[in-house]
Amino acid sequence: MSVVGSMNTFIADLHDLDRLVEVARSRYSVYAPVRRGRGYVFSKIEGMSDTDLRYNRTILPPTKIFHRPKEVLLRFQLADGPEFGEVVEVEPMMIFGVHACDLNAILRLDRFFTRRFEDPYYLARRRGSVVVALNCNGPRDEYCFCASLGTGPTVYGGYDILLTEVRDRMFLVEAGSEIGANLIDEARFRRASMSDMEAKKAVASTAKREFRRYADFRSLSYPVIEVLAHTVWDEEADKCFSCGNCSLVCPTCYCYEIYDTLDMDLNSGFRVRRLDSCQLYGYAEVALGGNFRKSRKARLRHWMVCKFGGAAGGELSSCVGCGRCIFYCPARIDITSVASRLREAV
């Protein structure tokens, strides 16, 4: 990705952005936050009227587009065989309106899925994709806490195009890659003025001051004994449902289950992977019913320590402060308040 000089800065209103989406749609499926009931989901849009750039957060994070909640890995056939072959579904995609926290999560998963082996399913979709990021002008609501983790509210890289709302529904548009620059070129935006660029700087500096929620996860890790032995886990585990909502909505949770399923002819079938969660009882269960995280407390602790960056995924599965797990936890378990309890002990 070559970084294009700051001269390539433009200004666009929603009509202009509509042109960008139209240009993009000739080459990509465009995914953006779309209202669904009381929440938002990333889904395909046809124009700017389908999306709402003032969204707070989507239910599932945009990482779902690359690391699908459920997908087929391979197809097989048993008779005269077995015979089998891979199934990789790819379409060129633009992900439009990605917040800093979610973009950072995508960048972490990029590294995670190329760590020792390469995950061809994730990478096939990711490598053909274009990201249009969107700076936040402050926390989207009381659940956001990216500022204290350095994962937002401002985006500093990893995008093809970056949008900043500098005035009411007026967006400063910057290219972060050749592909982004070409798309902007085709959409024929006006060049930004000096004052537009100044406005962006002002947005960035005020945005991070407005956060009410803080977190410091440093050194809350395995195998720190003060963390492992803390009584907060017992208290929170009494409330926890082991429902998995927290990890299923987390943009840096990648864990999955793999299983085979047979068609009705009992001859052909698929190998499937489906998002899993370490909060679920079955996650660490082995043959004959053995389970290394039988207690809810052990599962809750593992989940949170993983999000602190202290489990086996390291910083690549650590929290980016999107606030989803706090909002979607039916038991009101709050990673930021648990962390501050633990902080007192370490």
Binding site: E86, P120, L123, P223, E257
Partner: protein, 274 residues
């Protein structure tokens, strides 16, 4: 980009019944060879049922076939047991970090196996005996529940016959009429009889985690250093590639960082028995 989730085909060329619930499958990889190190494992596919991680139990220096010694405990292992010679299954791998054989040269080696835990130890034993002169004393302790649960019996007896490796066998219980010529008692009860020098030995341990816990406790008491006690750990495992998450023990991935760990690496981690 090659797809690491796609197995290679392998043909079952022979099947040996080890015990009432353990069989050794000799497999010929079709379209390629499988080069592996002692202690590594493969993901075995029985299509339609699923995959299971299984240690390679054969000689790492033989590469036109490899063997898997499998205990029947559930879906995939159950389906494997229904297959006969000539059947084709899928395998991918090898994966993981094996036993530290190179690093242990010049030292005594104590091998401690329990039940099906002999499977990943067998390639290590074969390899150690092949370069016998590079090691000090070598001793093998193996325990099973009853005499009919002892796997690799003839091989262990043959090794005991030859020079170079002392073999001590034990079973937890025997029937009154049983002609068992070796010890009775849990495997750790053999520790009284060992002659390796704990201060310059490595211990290679594999078995049920509860057995490994007792083994580690006694080895430490005997003077083995925590960093010289190696354990092969078992967890639920799906991908074998460091992604799916199931095999984590604290900060460690069993599939990438293990399955063989030194006790000092694994000791501080939570959610385990050892």
């Amino acid at each position: 980009m090659t797809n690491p989730y796609i197995p290679m085909k392998a043909e079952i060329v022979s099947i040996k019944t080890e015990t009432r619930d353990i069989k050794t499958f000799r497999l010929k990889p079709l379209g390629g060879k499988l080069k592996f190190e002692a202690g590594q494992f493969v993901e075995v596919s029985v299509f339609g049922v699923g995959e299971a991680p299984i240690s390679i139990s054969s000689d790492p220096d033989v590469d036109d076939y490899f063997e898997l010694s499998v205990r029947r405990v559930g879906s995939v292992t159950g389906a494997l047991f229904k297959l006969s010679e000539g059947a084709i299954i899928g395998v991918r791998g090898p994966y993981g970090r094996g036993w530290p054989l190179k690093e242990s040269e010049g030292m005594d080696v104590l091998i401690v196996g329990g039940g099906c835990g002999a499977a990943p130890l067998r390639p290590a034993i074969l390899k150690l005996l092949r370069s016998r002169d590079r090691y000090g004393r070598i001793e093998l302790l193996y325990g099973a529940r009853t005499p009919s649960d002892v796997m690799y019996m003839e091989e262990f007896e043959a090794i005991a016959e030859g020079s170079g490796c002392r073999v001590l066998l034990t079973v937890d219980t025997i029937a009154p009429d049983n002609r068992w010529r070796y010890s009775v008692g849990v495997v750790t009860s053999l520790f009284d009889k060992i002659s390796v020098n704990p201060f310059r030995s490595v211990a290679l341990v594999c078995g049920p985690e509860i057995m490994m816990m007792y083994a580690v406790r006694d080895l430490l008491r005997l003077g083995f250093k925590p960093e010289n006690i190696y354990l092969s750990m078992e967890r639920r495992m799906r991908c074998g590639l460091g992604f799916c998450g199931h095999c984590q023990i604290g900060r460690k991935y069993v599939c990438l960082d293990g399955p063989v760990f030194s006790y000092s690496e694994i000791a501080p981690m939570p959610d385990k028995i050892v």
